[in-house]
Symmetry: C2
Subunit: 214 residues, 2 copies
């Protein structure tokens, strides 16, 4: 699977919304998530590793990629495919030198940060926040136009993040991003599997149009 | 320097007690700390790495060892000498396989945990809590007799931790430990350098006696 394919729909864990993280991940994968990002800000390292090992196994079974938010130690300990690094996390170049085989996603909030992350060797970008979002209320909102500009300015794949829902996902994909990352749209749903499936269908429809197959 | 020599006096950082962590580390080193353990539970990874790089530089200048609490990623990113791992952190054997060159200290709270940590390849133990301690009020208290028994049961060096002060450090050293680790005794003092120096003098006096030089 090409990296862009795997970045179509990244589902990020949220222990507050779904305390049984492994179950939520399995449901998201059944629904068609192409990547899982493990994000467990307030857990112990031991717990992150235990959950991460289960996520590693599940993503393998479903042919999805497995990323870890922030924690390179957990990524290495659980044999993750990649790591997602933001401005408060380990610098990209340092992470690359410690773990040259990991796929590195950079979280960026502006065109300048995007260009710099590409320069430092990020393999893809998570760019946002597209819309205001309950999962990260303090995040800067870049908007649809900001996202379009950002996509134009880099050569690496861009994934949109922040406030993306079933109702705006098609608009988001018109910006040229290769996919989306979501927390609330899936983790706040009663039925994680079905919320993921609907999102995935909308994404596949829109990406098919882009390729001119419809 | 033999590992045991470097374990005589481990000073652990505490950002709540001394918000300028780097300054506190420098003061502790001036006072005679033989090792520094960076413990920054609530900081971002980026901040841990920035502070860790400064601590790496300072410990080198003073000929002391530099350990990181819990975070293998920060230890690798800042070229630490070692890492301190407790029951909630990365399993010892996993840490050893990821970073075979790091000195691994295991935090243990009973004879059973001590024996198991030695079996898994820990290079030394941090054993406690010797006394009740304000830095970790929930920690199990092993006491002086418990510590003596623990020291007898393993071959690797043991460092005592938990509630150790200027008034009880000599009693602690009678248990056969090679040194002590402290937070409050140094970080809660108005003058970190002088609090460290007094502790170091008491330790040197007691260890000299043990070697029969007095």
């Amino acid at each position: 699977m090409r990296l862009e394919e795997a970045l179509k729909l990244i589902v990020i864990t949220d222990k507050k919304l779904k305390p049984n993280v492994v179950k939520a991940v399995e449901d998201a994968l059944r629904g068609g998530a192409t990547s899982i990002q493990l994000r467990l800000k307030e857990s112990s390292t031991r717990e992150m590793i235990e959950v991460g090992k289960a996520v590693r196994k599940l993503t393998e079974d479903f042919g999805a990629l497995y990323f870890v938010d922030d924690r390179l130690d957990v990524a290495l300990a659980t044999n993750a495919d990649g790591i997602q690094l933001g401005p408060e996390d380990m610098p990209l170049d340092l992470a690359k030198s410690i773990a040259p085989n990991l796929i590195i996603g950079a979280s960026v909030y502006s065109v300048e940060e995007a260009v710099e992350a590409e320069r430092l060797g990020a393999h893809f970008l998570g760019a946002g926040s597209v819309y205001p979002t309950p999962s990260k209320p303090e995040a800067k909102v870049i908007g649809i136009e900001g996202l379009k500009e950002l996509v134009r300015r880099v050569r690496i794949p861009v994934v949109a993040i922040g406030g993306i829902t079933h109702s705006n996902v098609k608009e988001v994909l018109t910006t040229g991003v290769c996919g989306i990352a979501v927390i609330s749209a899936v983790m706040a749903a009663d039925d994680v599997e079905s919320a993921t499936r609907t999102l995935r269908e909308l994404i596949d429809e829109e990406l098919k149009k882009r390729r001119g197959f419809s």
